[in-house]
Structures are given as C-alpha cells and as structure tokens.
C-alpha cells in the first residue's frame, strides 16, 4: 500500500511541472510557470496530506487560495492531466472548464487538448468538452448541438463533423 502510493506520487510529481509549463508558456514567457507536489510527512504519506503549489510566470510563491480564478483553473487542469499521465483513462469529459479563462488561456488549453487528442504518442486520449465559447469549441473535430424542443419538453441533439471545414 505504501509502495503503490509512493509510485503514484513520484510519477505524478515528476510530470506536474512539465505539464504546467506547457499550459502557461507564451512568447513573452517561454519558460512558463512552476508547479510542484510535496508530502506533508514522507514517513506515512497516506496518513497526512499532499500539498499542491503552482506559480504563474513572473509571480512569486503564494498559497493556492490567493491565486486568481483563471490561475486556479489552469493549475487544476495541469494537476488533472498529470494524474491522468499515471493512470491514463481513454477519455476525458469536461463541463465548462473555460468559464473563468480569458481568451489567451482558452487558446492555450484548447491547443493542449488538440495536441493530446491528435498525437499517436503513448498518452493520447479522447476528449468531450461542454463549452459556451466559440474560441474553444472551434478547435473540435465534431460538434454535438443540443437544443430544447419546447413543444415536446425534451432535449434534442444533432451532430456536425467539423473535419470538413477550415477554421477561418
């Protein structure tokens, strides 16, 4: 039990910084931010806690609660993708994760998802996102449009294959 926990922790904490950098890198800040996981007590890890900290580029260390809404969302996504890299489930379903993100962060998260759903590499996964922002869903391979038919009192869906269209 102790070994299984340590294996998971070591693997994930080895990947979290790389993924956070991929999500926070930009032309202005090519290095991106810094993220890490630490154990409150390494003797008996599962009796104590795991601490997660993330520093956006150009900012100093601060407690997670003091980050902004958008910064917390990006940190949470990095953590989820890092955990996924240890136990890769075949798919992700994400419901309006872009609610607190500005246009720049939406573009970075979309780019990361497109890369992970397209590449042939080991950690490829399928993604289903629910979003209200066209700057996010325009990158998808297919759209499922949901509408409500007031007469029948029921949701209806129709699917559109975006593969045939170019992003303008």
């Amino acid at each position: 039990r102790h070994n299984a926990f340590s294996a998971a922790f070591d693997y994930i904490s080895g990947h979290i910084d790389r993924i956070f950098k991929e999500l926070t890198r930009s032309a202005m800040q090519p290095m991106g931010g810094t993220a890490s996981l630490s154990l409150e007590d390494s003797e008996d890890p599962y009796l104590h806690g795991v601490k997660f900290s993330a520093m956006p580029p150009t900012k100093r260390y601060r407690e997670m609660e003091q980050l902004s809404g958008g910064e917390k969302t990006v940190a949470a996504l990095a953590l989820l993708f890092a955990i996924h890299s240890f136990q890769p489930s075949p798919f992700f379903v994400l419901d309006e994760i872009d609610a607190a993100l500005d246009a720049t962060n939406v573009a970075r998260v979309a780019k990361y998802i497109v890369e992970k759903t397209q590449d042939g590499g080991g950690d490829q996964f399928q993604t289903i996102v629910i979003s209200l922002k066209d700057s996010f869903f325009q990158h998808a391979d297919a759209l499922v449009g949901v509408c409500r038919d007031g007469n029948k009192g029921s949701s209806m869906t129709y699917t559109l294959d975006l593969g045939k269209y170019e992003i303008a």
């Binding site: 997660f52 609660e65 955990i83 979003s131 297919a142 409500r148 009192g153």
Partner: protein
C-alpha cells in the same frame, strides 16, 4: 480506445430513445443555457457507474418527466465503446422499478453487450480499460474545476490512494 456513440432513453431531459454521436477524438457539446448539455454529461457519468449523488438527483429524479405527460417508468443509457484492439463493447445501465405498484422504488441494472452483470463485474470490466470510476479524475462536472485546485491536502491524498 474511445467512446463511439451514446443511446439515451428517457433519461433526464431526453425524452424517448435518442442516438447521440458519433464522437470523434475531440468533440464539443454546445447549446443554450438549460438545453441539456450537462444532462448529457450526467448520462455518461451514469452509464459508467457514477453514484447518483454526483448526478444532481436520485434514481427516480433521473427518469424523464416534463410535467405534461406521466413521468417515465424506466430509463436506460447505452455507451458504445471501441477498445484499441478487438470488437465494440456496449455498456448499459438502466433504471427499473422493483415492483409494479405506484410507490415502487427504483434500482439499477447493468449489462455488458446485453448480458446482465453485477455492479462489481461491470466496474471490473471498465477498470480493465483503465476507467477508474471511483477516482472520477477523468470527469469534471460543471463548476468543479476551481475547487480541484483548492483541494485540501487530505483530499489530494485520498485521490492518490484511489489511483494507486
């Protein structure tokens, strides 16, 4: 592997039998407020065995009802999954009344490729495709994303325990 399509029958705001898909590598679900997008995600969570506490309602409340007709008596969601090797598999979970009286309670019934199985066998089969329903780290419900970053140290340890 990946999700190919869904079949939803009288589940939440989806009336009757509806086919949804095909799902590609990256699929976006779009539509106005209150149209039924999160209900679609609840259908995916439901068919994968997520407990109803996370689906905004009890088994009874998941049955389609729209106020003008009688509420549905049963409901089902089928998920067609294509593993990286081998044939398609159909995971399905239904809500059924346990008797025909009007105050019947509702139970879940699990099937794999139309063979009825126990909840544990269903879960074990999902686990073999690396779908860890208990950890739920691959499902982010609406509004949850920010609380994930602010997760306490103890909660994070629990998540790590479930994954290892």
């Amino acid at each position: 592997g990946r999700i190919v399509r869904l079949e939803i029958e009288d589940f939440k705001s989806y009336r009757g039998l509806q086919q949804i898909g095909p799902f590609k590598a990256f699929t976006a679900v779009v539509g106005p407020n209150g149209s039924g997008k999160s209900n679609l995600m609840d259908a995916i969570g439901f068919v994968l065995g997520v407990r109803t506490a996370h689906l905004r309602g009890s088994l009874k409340e998941l049955l389609h009802s729209n106020g003008t007709e009688a509420a549905a008596k049963r409901s089902a969601v089928r998920l067609v999954y294509q593993p990286s090797t081998g044939d398609e598999i159909i995971f399905s979970r239904a809500i059924l009344p346990n008797s025909h009286s009007s105050n019947a309670t509702f139970v879940s019934q699990y099937r794999i490729d139309d063979r009825q199985v126990s909840a544990d066998a269903y879960n074990a089969c999902l686990l073999s495709f690396n779908v860890l329903v208990k950890a739920r780290n691959f499902l982010v419900f609406q509004g949850d994303i920010e609380s994930i970053a602010a997760m306490g140290a103890k909660e994070l340890t629990n998540l790590f325990e479930q994954i290892s």
